[in-house]
Amino acid sequence: MAGSENRSDPEHLITEHLETIDRALAARGMPLTERRSVTGDVEAQIRDMLEERAGDEPTTADVEAVLGMLDAAESYVEDGQAATDESTPTTGVRPSRLSRVAVVGAAWAPFTFVMLLLWLVAVPVTGPHGSPAPGPAWWQIAALVVLLPLGSLAPFATTILGWIAVGQIRRSAGRLHGLGLALADGLLFPLLLLDILVYMFWRVVIAVAVAWKTLGIAALGRPHYASVDRNPMVVVVLAAITSVVVDWLIVRWAWRKVARNEGER
């Protein structure tokens, strides 16, 4: 109910009209600065017409009447033709669609995790006489064989497809969306690799620190991994905190970079 009231709000109608125009202009490849110029002029005209018609307090009916006097948003699709060519049906605003490349990349990624799960976790099965059977279940082996190529290629495929999708979306002038998904594809496995490196870094640091503390400075070159592996929580916590911070900084930097560049186009 609140939603329907909001949709008929005068300001909402104006915003919706301007956004539709912006999408139409983007669909024909107009740069953002020029689109802002056009929508700014249209909005100024709408405000002037509303002032002439209704003064300071325009109602929804006033806004609808003013918008009815203006060209339809679809008229902006083609420069200078749609508004004057009555015989040629307008093509309409091509709706923006989700990048298929980004979707394929995202769909591919889970195969790695499923493959690792099947590899590492053997489902216990019982033998013909109720005794535990040696090795995992036959279906687990079959699934692993099927998933092995997909899962082992996924880190490369998802990353490559993600960055291809980022490029396509940025060049699409609004015809494609899903930049967040594409960026997630492009960064997922590189960041996981970075997280593993962060874990290894802390493992070495803690092992060196333990060796130093227990054996003195002479043991600096002989990290004490055994004690670290007996109680890995310190390394895990440090690695987790570092990974979260580093990943967040990288994602924020990358997002700002691709989103800003998309806007400038």
Binding site: V38, G80, A82
Partner: protein, 108 residues
């Protein structure tokens, strides 16, 4: 016929907008009102504003923002020297074309 008319009008939008600015600086709606007298041109905001944005990008018009009493700032457009030169060139071309076409279409 209508396609031909649309194409003809399409080509005339830019010189008409530049011509409207020869009268002096104006914001978008004012330019539309200046062009409103030439109804047969069929020019409306969906043709004029994108052309204005393109002319600004090509530095043929200068844009100045000024507060409006009715909402967002108004964008005032005025011709640059390059815009005046473009208009002069277009005017010359149009006169030559119009002269030839008038002669060809003149009834017997």
């Amino acid at each position: 016929m209508r396609v031909w008319l649309a194409q003809l009008r399409k080509g005339l939008v830019e010189p008409c907008v530049l011509g409207a600015l020869r009268q002096g600086e104006a914001y978008g709606y004012q330019i539309l009102q200046r062009l409103g007298g030439a109804e047969s041109l069929g020019i409306s905001e969906s043709t004029v504003y994108p052309v204005l944005a393109r002319l600004a990008a090509q530095k043929l018009v200068l844009v100045r923002e000024a507060p409006s009493p009715n909402g967002p700032p108004r964008r005032y457009y005025r011709l640059t020297p390059a815009g005046r030169a473009r208009l002069a060139h277009m005017t010359l071309c149009w006169q030559q074309v119009a002269s030839v076409v008038n002669e060809l279409l003149k009834e017997g």
